[in-house]
Subunit: 429 residues, 2 copies
């Protein structure tokens, strides 16, 4: 079992509460404590039995297992390395840096990201095209409003995509054109026939289906942009986490003047840090910077300098290598569980990222029932239909299962709950 | 002289550069070094003579003395105390806090601010009315956009005010009604006769004139809001720094349901931190929070938790007490210099804040010429006309002199430069 200290961190409760819970479980014989070597699940009390005990009585003390997509394992946040970087930022930043700063972000962070994104994602970036923002959500907000000021009123999106992106397009009073996605990624032919001047894509790992955009389609969409003056917004939300050997670089590297590249530290480090970045076509830099200044000037300086130092010191690379191994292992466990217990449930999009798409044997009714069972047992999950644009182009049921969010020690229990709430094989299917 | 380490911090240059500059000044006899007790201005070489030497040759190596309003002394930023608070935040934050968080801000910071603002500014605040934002600029952005969604299209402002506030009203496509300011503060009778539904005020210390809003006018504007359903946006940008014995509390305390109260850590700590706060009428909380979520979700969590800890530990109060003494002393030096060398230049607004308004003996031509001389000697200053609404209601020349920004060790030199660029007494005046 995890130490009481780390479990109290994971769950956000006081350590005393954890200690008394452990005492109770020790007293009931579920756990055994060995002097100096921590707390262990008692012999003959396999972890599954504990989960059985919990789930038989429904939600236990409102404990929620989080398998929603989009959040990394926060228990793996590299606190010591981040602390060292933050300390250096707070100690060494020249006084002038504590004043009103460059709305594009600090030079240190723009330089660090230009190097990092070039090396790891194939992004063509000089620091004067990099603009720091407060998370990818703000990046998209700034991009959409700036494009609206340029007279753009229609944005194409993948027919299932992040719901917050759709809300932002809506808030910006722009029309939305949904494009189908197949096994080669988004259908660029539909884009070409549409009246959209901008397309928002997740080329490395389509959200939520998980397919990468094929080489042919990449060529098509770049040619569309070049021929029409169209703009591609590339949301590279989890590009760092790729598990097969085939590297999928950023689309931006193929046509830097036609792509607004967006990324953030939310998946690689933690969403709470609220740092994102954009790599922009040159004409966009000035307009986006001007808008940023009227909204909130710039992102907090200490956080920016800490991240720059964290990248410079190699801690970002080290953390991502470590996290990648952890997530890959979880993905394998998820796939093995489905293979063994639910071969009638399809799984896709598992070559990268922090989530998999599970296709259910049936329609939206099955999806709704499955989500209701998940709620009953305290498992937080997202249904595929939440991410589909209206009108929905299919009523195939699905689950978007995030294997990032759960802390290591409770991942087996979360997986077990998932197994239990999946629908049974349909008779005759 | 300051240590080479602190001077390199202040100026944002490397310590080697400072050390070689000191060596040069030692070699030329301007400075003398005493083993173990630092570097001193050489006997017989008064600081004024050094300034004379610099200013006789105009700008020296592009060295800029900053007397622009709105920035605190960044060399006084309490690094050690902030470091301790940041360390505690990074070490102790439960993992769950590193994820996507409450768009209103962390509970810790909202609680700390509700207590602090109640105690020091008379703000009536419970934590569920406090919303954290990324600086006061974002607060105003969120307020204006939300009010626009409620159908409000006209905002009254003081006829001279922060230029960025005017830009934001403009960006929000709202009409602007300027209101005159006299020795009792803003002319509420003009507001009552206008068609404005919202008024943006700086009641504690009008920017840039520096007068507080009188008790009678406070009553008038509150009655206007209550009778018409109007809304007051109270920008309490430097309310902590009051030098006379008369406390001027926030307007918000008189009518919490009619005032959007806004403040930030930019003047008390440093603008680079980018943390501000709003205390809102209950119906505004939900709408502003919803808008915040589509813009950028929330402010960085570590900074929020660090500031909460900084306030909780009493470091915020201690820092403000210390800074208040420092600024009061500078204000006294500024007033004494004017009294002695430029009695024909008026000074006002000095009971509070980080700036004074200097009225020049003449019109905008005099102001323009004075600013040109300031630029020539490397003194950064703002002219009053920059803050006036169009059409300008007066052509009285003025300077808005910030005595906060300059580090302690160069304040005498900055003051000396200011003395030199002030216009001479007009013949016959």
């Amino acid at each position: 079992m995890p130490s009481s200290r780390s479990l109290s961190h994971d769950l956000g409760i006081s350590r005393n509460t954890v200690v008394s819970a452990y005492d109770q479980l020790l007293a009931e014989g579920w756990l055994s404590a060995r002097q100096g070597s921590g707390t262990w699940v008692a012999e003959g009390r396999a972890f599954d039995s504990v989960v059985d005990a919990l789930t038989e009585t429904g939600r236990h003390n409102d404990l929620i297992y989080d398998m929603s997509p989009g959040t990394p394992d926060l228990s793996g946040f590299p606190r010591a390395a981040w602390m060292a970087a933050a300390k250096r930022a707070i100690t060494d930043a020249p006084d002038t840096r504590l004043g009103y700063g460059d709305p594009r972000g600090t030079l240190e962070l723009r330089l660090a990201l230009a190097e990092y994104l070039g090396r790891t994602r194939g992004v063509v970036a000089s620091e004067d095209r990099v603009v720091i923002c407060s998370g990818a959500v703000q990046g998209l907000f700034l991009s959409l409003r700036t494009l609206a000021e340029f007279g753009i009123d229609t944005v194409a999106v993948e027919s299932a995509c992040f719901d917050i992106s759709r809300q932002q397009i809506d808030r910006a009073d722009m029309d939305l054109v949904p494009l189908s996605v197949d096994h080669d990624g988004v259908r660029v032919d539909q884009l070409i026939r549409s009246r959209a001047q901008v397309v928002l894509l997740t080329p490395a790992h389509q959200f939520p289906w998980g397919v990468p955009l094929s080489a042919e389609r990449r060529g098509q969409v770049i040619r569309w942009a070049q021929a029409t003056g169209g703009m591609i917004i590339e949301d590279d939300y989890d590009g760092e986490f790729r598990y097969d050997r085939r590297p999928i670089g950023a689309l931006q590297g193929l046509a830097p003047d036609h792509v607004i590249y967006q990324g953030s530290a939310s998946k690689a480090l933690a969403p709470g840090i609220r740092i994102g970045w954009m790599v922009l076509p040159e004409p966009m830099v000035k307009a986006i910077t001007a808008l940023r200044q009227t909204i909130d000037l710039h992102t907090g300086v200490f956080e920016q300098l800490a991240l720059a130092e964290f990248i410079r010191a190699g801690a970002y690379d080290r953390h991502i290598r470590k996290a990648r191994l952890r997530y890959r292992n979880r993905r394998d466990q998820l796939a093995a569980m489905l293979d063994e217990h639910a071969p009638h449930v399809g799984i896709s999009g598992i070559a990268a990222g922090l989530h998999a798409l599970l296709t259910l044997p049936g329609d939206l009714t099955i999806e709704r029932d499955t989500l209701a069972r998940a709620r009953d047992v305290g498992l937080s999950l997202a249904g595929l239909s939440r991410f589909r644009c209206e009108p929905k182009d299919s009523d195939q049921g699905g689950l978007v299962v995030g294997y990032g969010a759960t802390p290591n020690h409770s991942f087996p229990a979360a997986l077990n709950l998932l197994r239990r709430i999946l629908p049974a094989r349909v008779a005759g299917a």
